[in-house]
Structures are given as C-alpha cells and as structure tokens.
C-alpha cells in the first residue's frame, strides 16, 4: 500500500505539488490526469525519490520512503520502476544496455560495470523488447531511435526491473495506436496478473477511463478529483481542464467553430 501524506514540493516560491494526500492500495491501476503543468510528473518523481518533498511523507507499507538511504533506497527504487515522460535513456548506449540498466540493482556492481550480463539477463531483456516489437533494434544507439522507439525502450527497462509498483509518466505519449494498445495492455496485464500497483499519468481521457481502476485529477499541484472512472463525467472533465461548456472533451470529432471567439485564445482572424 502506497500512502502519501500532505506531500508538497516547491520550486523557488512556486508550489508544483501542493498538500497531496493519497492512499493507493496494492494492485490498483491509478490514472493521474490533469492539465499540463499540474504537477503530475513532479509527484511521480517524488515517489521514486528523484526529488525530495519539501513537506510531507510517503509511505510504502510501513516504510517511510522519504527517510530511506543507501542500499535501502536503491532497493526501493528497484521495486518501484519509473517510466519517464522524456524517456531518460543514455543516448550514447545501445538499446540492450539501456534495458539492462533495469537489472542493475540485482547484478553485482563489478559485473555491471564491465557489462558482463549473463545470458539469462540478456534473454530477459530481449524478451521484453520483443514483446514491444523492439528486439530488432537491440544493437542500435538509443539517440538514433525514433520517438516511439525510445519510449518503448524506456518501458522495457521498467519491465525487466520486475517491480512491485510501476510509475509511468505518459508512457504512450509518442506511440501509435497499435503500440499504445500493446503498452497499455501490458500494464493492465501485469497489474491484473501479478497484482503490481501501477500509477500512470495520462492525457487521454478515453484511455484513462478504459484502463484505470481509479482516476486522480490534479490542478495546480492539488488533488481535485479522486474517484472511479465512471465518476469522471464530461462536466467534471471540463472543470478539470478549464474547458468551456460546449467544447468536447476527449479525442473529439471535428470542431470548426470560430476559435478566435474563445477568450484566452488570441489567434487572429475570424
């Protein structure tokens, strides 16, 4: 069980995450939604301890994550896989080695430093890549990959970690429909079959509604919505994203109304 208690993160004077309290039971698939800049990425980063909360605590079971140090901290991170919005791959390494980084906690440092991965480890990485249709590219340098290919490498890295919880920051932003489906199905699958908790930032409300057990809506760093997907009515979504009534939420049919007429949107013409 993951429990956030009054977690806050400030940058300079600005509060990117503001007094967030949440309890995520083990095995839940939680979608985090909200406008760009709402603090979703910052929240996930704190759970993985890539940033320390300015205030508040994060607990996993009885362990206070925010107090972990050294090996215990590394172990927590190994149990809590993170998929980054901007992939965070090592551009000058090849795909396979990037994925192997997900196993690094379990491999003795000396062996890892020399890239002496065992055949089993390589096979595992390659299988993960295969499941994402990326095994062909295992030898290519990460910085020459297409956007979606990079994203899938990042996902494979998280999968080979065999984590207890997965934090996915817009894991399908750069993916085509087929790969979107592959990835979301994979997340759903490991969530349902292995009881792994998944916290996933999503921009697509359709996907959020279809895949998640629960949705958390953020705005300006605060949690403003927390309920089952069915409760996310169009009205609520409109509120969350600050849309006007009459504008369609989700991936919408064509809108050819005069856009200039909307306040806060100053394109010329019309």
């Amino acid at each position: 069980m993951l429990r956030l208690e009054g977690v806050t993160k400030s940058f300079g004077g600005k509060r990117a995450v503001d007094q967030v309290s949440l309890v995520v039971p083990t095995g839940q698939l939680v979608g985090v939604i909200g406008r760009s800049g709402a603090g979703k990425s910052t929240l996930l980063r704190m759970i993985n301890r890539l940033g320390d909360p300015t205030q508040g605590r994060i607990l996993f079971g009885d362990t206070d994550i925010t107090q972990l140090k050294g090996r215990a901290l590394r172990q927590w991170r190994a149990r809590c896989a993170m998929i980054f919005q901007q992939f965070n791959l090592a551009g000058r390494l090849d795909v396979l080695n990037n994925v192997m980084m997900g196993r690094a906690f379990h491999v003795p440092t000396s062996r890892a430093l020399l890239k002496l991965w065992s055949d089993d480890e390589k096979a595992q990485a390659l299988s993960a890549l295969e499941s994402l249709d990326m095994a062909r590219l295992a030898g290519q340098r990460a910085d020459t990959l297409s956007g979606g290919q990079q994203q899938r490498v990042a996902i494979a890295r998280a999968l080979v970690q065999e984590p207890d919880i997965i934090l996915a920051d817009e894991p399908i932003a750069s993916l085509d429909p087929r790969n979107t489906k592959v990835v979301m199905d994979a997340l759903l699958h490991i969530n349902k079959h292995f009881g792994i908790t998944v916290v996933c930032n999503l921009h697509s409300l359709d996907l959020a509604r279809s895949y998640c057990d629960r949705l958390v809506g953020m705005a300006a760093g605060r949690v403003v919505f927390d309920d089952v997907p069915a409760a996310l009515t169009d009205a609520v979504a409109r509120d969350l994203y600050g849309l006007e009534a009459g504008e369609v939420v989700g991936e919408a049919p064509p809108v050819l109304m005069p856009v200039g007429a909307r306040p806060g949107f100053a394109l010329a013409g019309s």
């Binding site: 993985n48 890539l50 590394r74 172990q75 927590w76 991170r77 190994a78 149990r79 896989a81 993170m82 980054f84 901007q86 992939f87 965070n88 791959l89 090592a90 551009g91 000058r92 390494l93 080695n97 980084m101 997900g102 690094a104 906690f105 440092t109 890892a112 430093l113 340098r141 910085d143 020459t144 990042a154 890295r157 998280a158 970690q161 200039g260 100053a266 394109l267 010329a268 013409g269």
Partner: protein, 294 residues
C-alpha cells in the same frame, strides 16, 4: 500574407511584458554585474601589468625578428637550404623524444586514473556525499598547487635521482589538474539519463558508468590528451631531477641561442602534437557519434 498571430491589445500585453521584464531583470543585473566586475578587473590588471598599446603597435614590426633568426643556420643561411645540417641531431632528438613520450605517458596514465575516480566524487551534481566532495576538491587543489618542482625535489631526496621522481611529480600534478577539469565536465552533463538509471535502483558506480560516463567520455579524452601534451613539455622540469628528455634539450637550445636547433626540435614536437591531435579527433568523433553533418 498577414501574420497568423493576432497581437494582443496593449492593455493585455503590458502586464505580460512587465512580468517578463521583472523575471529577467535580476538575471540581467547579475550578468551586468559580472561583466562590470570583469571589466574593472581587466582595467586594474592592465595598469598593474604596465600594458601599453602604443608601445605594442610601435614595436610590433620586431615580432618576427626572433622567429626569423630561428630559421637561420649558424652560417646565416635559411635552414631549408641544408636540411641535413638543420636536423643534425635527429637521432639524438628522436631518442629523447621517445623517452619523453614514455615518461609523459606513464605520468599521464597514472594521473588520469586518479583524476577519473576523483572527478565523480568531486562533482556537485553526482557526488555521493558533501564532505567527501569537499575533501576531494581540496586534495586536488593541493596536488596541482604544489609545483611539480617541489614534488620532484621531495621525491629526489626520498627516491634518488632519476625518472621515477619526475614521473611521480608529473602524475600527482596531473591528478590535481584533471581531477578538477573532469569534475566540471561531469557537473555539466544532462541529468536525465542518470536519473533514468538511478530510478531503477542501480548503485552509484553503475549510474555513473552508464548514465554519466558516455556523456563525458569525449571531453575526458580531450582533456587527457591535452594533459599528455603539456606533460611532454613539463618533462623539461624533470631535467632538474636527471631525466630531462627532449624538453630539456629544447630549453638548453633556447637559452644558448642555438637557433636552428630550437626550430628543429619545435618542428619535431609540432609534428608529434599534430599526429596525436589527428588520431584522437577520430576517437572523439566516434565517441560523440558526429557522423551526421548539418
């Protein structure tokens, strides 16, 4: 075609412009302040250094005089009229050059190994602990501030005359100098890949090896080779401990005004440096992956 962007009315624009100006103002003052400080420091230094531009311009015609003399043989003819005479010492110089390269190699390699390890401990963005970082930085400072000459002297008294003392002195200095430069390269990396690896629970060395090192490698190589070049020259200092090499012959030739010898030895060194530079350019470009032009 008119602009696809409608300019906001002034009333709406003003506050935005002001907000922007306000947010960059302090930064701008910062920059101006730094620039002003540098300018003042330059002026004060110029006074202290007795800079006199008129003197420079009046006499700049003498700039080539020494250089021209460098290219004259003892009998006053230009060096290229008698290349055999110009390079009369070639066998000896080549031997010395070889010795020098060997000494510089050992000094540089030992130093680079030390600096490599220390740099990650000393870099603010990745250092595992604050006090360790502080200690390492001070240690590097001592290593590079105590002159090679002093280390050499101490080692001579301890280990006796010979290349060992000189090489060790060079190695220690290299640790200090490269430790700092390497650390600053590490401080300038993109942290995203490091985060990506740390987030998987990797140990610190692994994160450095795969997240940081690939980004720093080409800079490390370029600094290490520059240091190698510098060390080739600083072996001249080792003449002091009985292991001079080509540097000592060069200094001797300069001091004794054996002009053609100076130019001949310089030509050898220039060739060596150019060869090193060319070879390593290839290595670095492969590391960066600069195949693509734009």
């Amino acid at each position: 075609m008119s602009s696809p962007i409608a300019l906001l009315p002034d009333a709406q624009l003003r506050p935005l412009l002001d907000a922007y100006e306000a947010s960059v103002r302090s930064r701008r003052w910062h920059t101006l302040l730094i620039l002003a400080c540098v300018a003042v420091a330059m002026v004060l230094s110029s006074i202290s250094a007795e800079v006199s531009i008129p003197k420079l311009l009046d006499n700049i015609h003498r700039f080539p005089s020494y250089i021209i003399r460098l290219f004259q043989l003892e009998n006053g003819r230009p060096v290229w009229t008698d290349v055999a005479e110009w390079f009369w010492g070639l066998p000896r110089w080549l031997r010395l050059l070889g010795e020098t390269l060997l000494m510089a190699y050992v000094g540089t390699v030992l130093g680079v190994i030390g600096a490599f390890v220390l740099s990650f401990l000393a870099a603010a963005n990745v250092a595992p602990s604050r006090w360790l970082r502080w200690t390492v930085r001070r240690f590097c400072e001592i290593c590079r501030t105590v002159p090679e000459l002093v280390f050499a002297l101490v080692f001579v008294i301890a280990f006796g005359l010979g290349p060992v003392a000189g090489v060790l002195a060079v190695a220690i200095h290299t640790v200090g100098a490269l430790g700092k430069l390497f650390a600053e390269v590490v401080e300038n990396i993109d942290m995203k890949p490091v985060e990506g690896i740390i987030a998987g629970g990797s140990s610190w060395p692994v994160a450095m090896r795969f997240g940081a090192l690939p980004q720093t490698m080409s800079n490390f190589v370029s600094y290490a080779l520059l240091r190698f070049e510098i060390n080739v020259r600083s072996t001249a200092v080792m003449g002091f401990v009985g292991a001079g090499g080509i540097g000592q012959d060069l200094i001797e030739a300069i001091r004794k005004f054996y002009y053609s010898d100076v130019s001949a030895i310089l030509v050898l060194i220039i060739i060596t440096v150019s060869v090193i530079d060319t070879l390593t350019s290839h290595v670095r470009h492969r590391l960066i992956g600069l195949q693509e032009k734009h």
